[in-house]
Amino acid sequence: MAAGAIDPRLAAIAERVRHVVGPATASISAAAAALAAAPNSQDVADEIARIGIAAGQLVEMVEGGAPALGDDGGIEAACSRLRHDLRTPLVALKGYGELVLEIAADEHLDGVTRELGRLLEGVAEVMVAIERALPAPSRAMAAEDHGEGLPPLHPSLRGRILIADDSQANRDILVQYLGREGHEVAAVADGLSALDLVMEQPFDLVLLDMIMPGMNGDEVLKAIKAEPRLRLLPVIMISALDAVDRIVHCIEAGAEDYLPKPFNRVLLRARIGACLEKKRLREIELAYLRAVESELTIAHEVQQSILPKGFPPHRALAGHGLMVPARDIGGDFYDFFVLDDDHIGIALGDVSGKGIPAAVYMAMVRTQLRATASFGLAPAECLARLNQHLAADNPSAMFVSLFFGIVDCVSGVVTYANGGHNPPILVRADGTTEWVPGTGDLLVGVLPDSDYHEAGLALAPGDALLVYSDGVVEAVGPADAVFGEARLASVLSGMADRSPAALADGVLAVVRNFEAGQPASDDLTCVAIRFLGAPTTATANSHQEAP
């Protein structure tokens, strides 16, 4: 090429620089001029003069770019040189700008701060414009990191990523690279803006630079991890490799990983991919847990609905039952059934174990007991047949402790059988209490040929009977104290005049109070009945319970 002649390709590049970078440099010149005229400027006159010189150099280089380009080493080298030359006055502008800002803050030179802000914004804009006009380094980066030719990312590994880095160059590199990978990318220059944005928009991943003005990356990380809604949002810290202590602190504070600067594409891709994959799996897991939770809620409702709605109305007998599972669903149950005009059956059982298996078994036991009792069999015979059914086919080795009594509403006599259940307690009208003797029989469902025996007790008018599960007497309070039978008896003797509903609710309240806020370890069930005696007039049924 003849000396003095300009390669048309270089001329085109110079023209592009003028066109793309020129407008932004004009705003720097304007800010520099305004700064020189601003109040307080005389206090930092030397620095401001140098800002003016650097701004002038920048404008001159952008406007007269082509001669400076030269053609040594071809187009690539020329672009690289121009890039370097253009950045040199920017380095000075940013440095002096920040220096004057520091001095202004220390010495309260408020007059210059607004213009300095404009200047530094202008510097950032010019940096972006240079990247746009001379995009060589991103190609260089790809070649150096052997990132070219990576297979495309699986769509499930693409996500919405927020970048917070105060360095425009770093933001540009990350936005450009992650955008090419198919991620949706947003970028901010400081910690507070990052925090604002994650509060209002959903992101799959945040990349946080460790050191930023105002609010550092580690502070933003702590704020994100302190917000319940954002706790699961993965955060990768961007940091120089030597800040190992801070990196360790961040990982302890909940950061997923860190990325060393300068960026390596292969590493960047691997870490971001791993993070997004983990988040995706966590979301699947959470969705599954939510589905299970909702099924348990429904199961709870179904289980409560198979318990009796209320006590069968009878003029001589009032009753009430309640069951509070320790988890969503439990293995306790109770049942009432009318056998004929003057006989009402009362059952209360406690299935081994808790949760879903106990609940399924409980539903089966309750159905079979109902079916067996409907033949009009005596309590011991009912338990024997039920035991036969349950023990015959019981691969999970489950069983139930079961009290079943039939109340004669005319005489007040209760005929009962007890398959290994806690002894019920009689509360006489005068407040004295008596434990109902057991029949020495086994739990139901354990051995196929167990015998069950009958016993009886007599209720006088005004007497009450409380049948309950071990969730009452085995309730645990602070310091591992156990509620116990003695406490139950003493509580009940003070409630002798209460209705069955008030008795059952009263026992529940006393137990909960005893537990003092600790979560219950077992299902809690109570059934209370009160014998009202033979009516003297037809209005006696005003005592009847309507739970």
Binding site: A54, V91, G95, V123, A140, E144, A169
Partner: protein, 122 residues
């Protein structure tokens, strides 16, 4: 007070960075090319060197190699200053024996942190 040798050929950037470091309480000496940098490092024995990589006479990589080859100056930490945030620049700087690396334009808080980390190491 820690003494820093700043090796930078661009007058504006040398002046700017030395002013900022002075304000932060460091004592600053300056050199304008790689040869002068090596000579001053040997005679002045600074606590730390900030070395621009694209220097005339003797570039930053070669200057650092010389300093790290000399038992008298080997222990002085060197932070490389380069223009681009690219992996190759970093590898090249660390390969020449630089103890750390910072890109221009400088983010001062980050540079100060690196300086302090290296000064504490000694």
């Amino acid at each position: 007070m820690s003494r820093i040798l700043l090796v930078e050929d661009n007058e504006m950037n040398r002046d700017m960075l030395s002013r900022r470091l002075l304000r932060k309480g460091y004592e600053v000496a300056v050199a304008t090319d790689g040869g002068e940098g090596v000579a001053m490092a040997t005679s002045e024995r600074p606590d730390l060197i900030l070395m621009d990589m694209s220097l005339p006479v003797l570039n930053g990589w070669d200057a650092t190699r010389r300093l790290k080859a000399d038992a008298a100056t080997r222990h002085i930490p060197v932070i490389a200053l380069t223009a681009h945030a690219m992996a190759a620049d970093r590898e090249q700087a660390l390969g020449a024996g630089c103890d750390d690396y910072e890109t221009k334009p400088i983010e001062l808080p980050r540079l100060l942190e690196k300086i302090e980390t290296l000064l504490r190491r000694d």
